[in-house]
Each structure stands twice: as structure tokens, then as C-alpha cells.
Amino acid sequence: MKLSSFRYLVGQGFDNVWKNRVMAFASFCVLLVSLLLVGISVLFYVNINAIIGGIEDKNEVIIYLLDDTSDERIGEIGETLKAMNNVSSVTLYTREEAFADLKANMSDYTEVFDSLGDDNPLPDAFRIRVADISRMSETLKATEQIAGVDYVSSPDSFVELLTETRRIITIVASAIIIALLIVSMVIISNTTRASVFSRRREISIMQSVGATKGFIRFPFFIEGMITGFLAGCFATLLTWFSYDSLVNLLGRFDVLSTIGFGNVIPYSKIGTFVTLAYVIAGSLIGAIGSVLSTRVHLKYRAANM
């Protein structure tokens, strides 16, 4: 194909958007709604995950050591814990620190602590954080096996609740997103097919004067891509505005920060990704949808000639 023909066909694609503006607008609306449905679902899932992740990060396991554990052995236990692959951080919490914290937290019972004198009843301990809380129980079992460890204290039931919540949310969100994708594809496919069908006469004329399939399809490809691109841009603007407004509105309620709302991802961090995802997905779906519908139509015509 010559450059002049290429330019002509691209120009035709742009012209066709305006000339067939009613169908182009219908495709634009369908694409916009589909992109928004899927995009908002993904953003909702990502944020729920971030909130749960934030709560998980605050989980701490305390490993209490036996009373007569030597400093050398404490050092070795620390190294063993650091070497474990699901342990993200290890902090030694000495019996002196623990006793001082206890005294500070229970200042009303100063007399009781004074009666103990220098006799510190608390053991040395390690505070650790696990990287993947779904593997917490196996990590805990491994730490219990280490010589010198007395017992392990962890928020087992809370961790299980979080893990289960995340699992359910993942399944439900994935199912919703897949269902929305399928519904969107069906609607988009029908809309583009209707758009192509409304121009079947134009296509048949092109064929009768000797236009190749590629020559016929290319302007439809450009037209679909432009419609998809515009839908992607519009979806970005709508998402940006509504996301920011919602985050600002909910941010005013202090109570929400207690359930991890502070971990909601600000739009500035995901804006570029969201824009690219919308624009690329919109352009691709628009272009491919148009080409496939034209292709189906041309095949149908060829079969029924």
C-alpha cells in the first residue's frame, strides 16, 4: 500500500467517526460504560487489598525465650529467625525493655513493681513480622522448634479472619470482573456489529468496485480505535474526578482510619497506570471489535453471494 493510500484510509477512518456519528456515539457510550465498570471494580479490589495489607503489616508475633537462655544463644536465635524466608523483620525485645514498658503502662501499680526490687520476672523475646500471613501457622511451628524458644504469642484468629476475608474478596471480585468483562465484550461486539451492519451497503459497493478486504477493513479499524481512545480518555477523567472526590469525602471521617482507610491508594500514585490502562484497553477493544465485526460481515457476505 502506498503512503498516499495509507493516509487516505486513515483520513477516512477519522471522517467516518463524524459521518457515522450516531453509531460512533453508541459505540463510545458502550465502551465508556464497560471501561468504567471494569476499571472501578479493579480499583475497588486493589484498594480493599491495600487496606487488608495495611492491617496485616501491623501484625506482630512475639517469641518468648526460656529464662536461662544465654546472650550468645539469643544472638543465634535472632540469626535463625532472620534466615527464615517468611520472616520480614526481627527485633530483640529484652527483658529489661519489656519490664520498663510494663512499668510505664501500669503506672498505677508502682508499689507492686517496687516490691519486686531488681527481680525482673519477664523473659527475653523477639518481635517478628511475617511476610505472608497466609503461611503464618507454618512459620510459627518452625519458630517453636528452635531451641531456647519457650512459647510463641500471635493473633492467630485475627490472622485467619483476615486471610479468609481476603480470599473471599479475591474470589468475589475476580468473578465480578470476569462477568463484567464478558458482558462488556458481548455488548461491545453487538454494538460494533450493528455499526458495521448499518453500513453493509457501503461495504457491498466497495466490494463491487474491487476493494480488497484490507482496504475495506482499515478505516473501520481506525474508526474503532478513535472511538475506543476517546472512551478511554473520558473514562480516565470520570474515574479521576469520582475517585478523588470519594477519597476526599471519606477521608473526613476519622473513624474510617481505624479500619485501615489510611491505606487507600491516592490517585496520584495510580493515575498514570489507570490512564494507560483505559486508553490502551479502549483503543484495542474498539479497533479489534470493529475489525472482527467487519471480518464476520465480509465472511457472511462471501458465503451468501
Binding site: 502506498k2 487516505y8 457501503e202 474491487g210 453471494m305
Partner: protein
């Protein structure tokens, strides 16, 4: 050149035999009228010559192409060697007169210089030089038909097929259109004109191919009065 050898076409969906053992030959530079009643097989003949449908039996040659053996990917290339004028014009509604005509040249990747030169020439040939920027909906029936004719002629086809070109225009314009086609034929283009306007065929005379119930029942070069006798 158009040649059909013992061609039969049966529509699978209805089982109707539209053409039955048809043989005919139209030499380069000829002008032939194809006449016949509705349902006689004229439209099937046109579709066959455009490779819009295939014969069940026989051989079809158009402009040196063996249409029975022609591969699908070669069909656009073949169609560029023929020009077709339809009764319902088949103009692209959202293109101007100029764009409708130029479209055929764009399809064959013609240089822009050639398009700029050829399109105005063909428009002047059919008397549409002042309507370049008009859309089909802004033209009269006769003007639309002349636009369709200009589109069929713009790539200088060896064969021009006119399917009932005078069907939607008034008699005066119909005669003008045939005279225009005769002028084009005089320049060497083979013309096959399908019509049921017997009055007009009587007026012009020439080679007449009469199709009835899928068979060629008459094929001769005769004058007006003799046609009516058939």
C-alpha cells in the same frame, strides 16, 4: 471479452435453475442489449459476470479471467477490470460526487496526480462537472445515474455492465444515457446493457440477447422492427 460455455446456475436455497446451459460470446468493443422479463435470469447473469456467484456447471471467461477457477483473493483484482452501473445507482451516501468517483481509483492505489486529472475529466464526460461537491442525496435520479456511470468508467474498464441503468430515470434521460453509453462504446469499451425497456431497444437496435426462463432464446444483431417481431 465475455464468454459463457454451457453455463447453468441453480440456487441451492430455492432449487430454482436461474440459468440453463447458456452459451454466449461478446467480443471486445461490442455493444449488446440483454433483455428479458423479470425472473428470466438477467440478474443472475450479471452476478455471474461480477463473480458474485458461481456457476454450477460450465465455463465463464471475462476480460481474460477464468471465473470458475478464480481464487477469492484475486476477485478484487478482477473486478477492477469491469465497470458496473446499477439501477439503484449504489453510490456511497456520505461521499460527495467527486469522492464516489475517486474512490475507485483509490482502491487501485492510483497516484494522486492521476486521480486529480482523471476524475474531473470523467465528470465532464457525463456532465457532472458542476456537482463535484454534492452528495448523492442532493442529486436528481438522472444525475445519480450519471455519477454511477462516471464511477464505472473512471478506471477505464475493458467491460462496462449496465444493469437496468434507465430503470429509475424518465424516458428522455434514458435515451440520453444510452447515447452516452454508445459514445463510450465508440471509444472501444465493451458494453453489456441489461434492460426491459423494449421500446428503447427497438429505437437503438444492435445486438440483442433475449433471455427467457434461464435460456438464451434469441441472440442476433437486428433492427428495431425485427425485435418486436420476436
Amino acid at each position: 471479452m465475455v464468454e459463457l460455455k454451457n453455463v447453468s446456475v441453480t440456487y441451492e436455497s430455492t432449487g430454482v435453475e436461474a440459468l440453463s446451459d447458456v452459451s454466449l460470446k461478446v467480443e471486445d468493443g461490442e455493444f449488446a442489449f440483454v433483455i428479458g422479463r423479470s425472473g428470466s435470469g438477467k440478474s443472475t447473469l450479471i452476478k455471474l459476470l461480477m463473480k458474485e456467484l458461481d456457476a454450477n456447471k460450465g465455463e465463464v471467461y471475462v476480460n481474460g479471467y477464468d471465473l470458475i477457477k478464480l481464487k477469492k483473493r484475486k476477485v478484487p483484482e478482477f473486478r477492477r477490470t469491469i465497470g458496473v452501473v446499477f439501477q439503484d445507482y449504489r453510490l456511497i451516501e456520505n461521499m460527495t460526487v467527486y469522492e464516489n468517483i475517486a474512490f475507485v481509483l483509490r482502491v487501485i492505489d492510483a497516484p494522486r496526480k492521476q486521480i486529480r486529472k482523471r476524475v474531473p475529466y470523467v465528470m465532464s464526460l457525463v456532465g457532472l462537472q458542476d456537482k463535484a461537491d454534492c452528495y448523492p442525496s442532493e442529486l436528481s435520479g438522472g444525475e445519480q445515474q450519471r455519477c454511477a456511470l462516471a464511477r464505472a468508467l473512471v478506471n477505464d474498464p475493458a467491460l462496462l455492465i449496465a444493469d437496468e441503468p434507465t430503470g429509475n430515470v424518465d424516458p428522455e434521460l434514458a435515451y440520453e444515457l444510452v447515447e452516452l453509453l454508445q459514445g463510450i462504446n465508440a471509444c472501444g469499451t465493451t458494453i453489456l446493457m441489461v434492460t426491459h425497456a423494449h421500446e428503447m431497444v427497438r429505437h437503438f437496435g444492435g445486438r440483442i440477447i433475449n433471455i427467457s426462463e434461464g435460456e438464451v432464446v434469441f441472440d442476433e444483431v437486428i433492427g428495431g422492427a425485427e425485435v418486436e417481431a420476436q
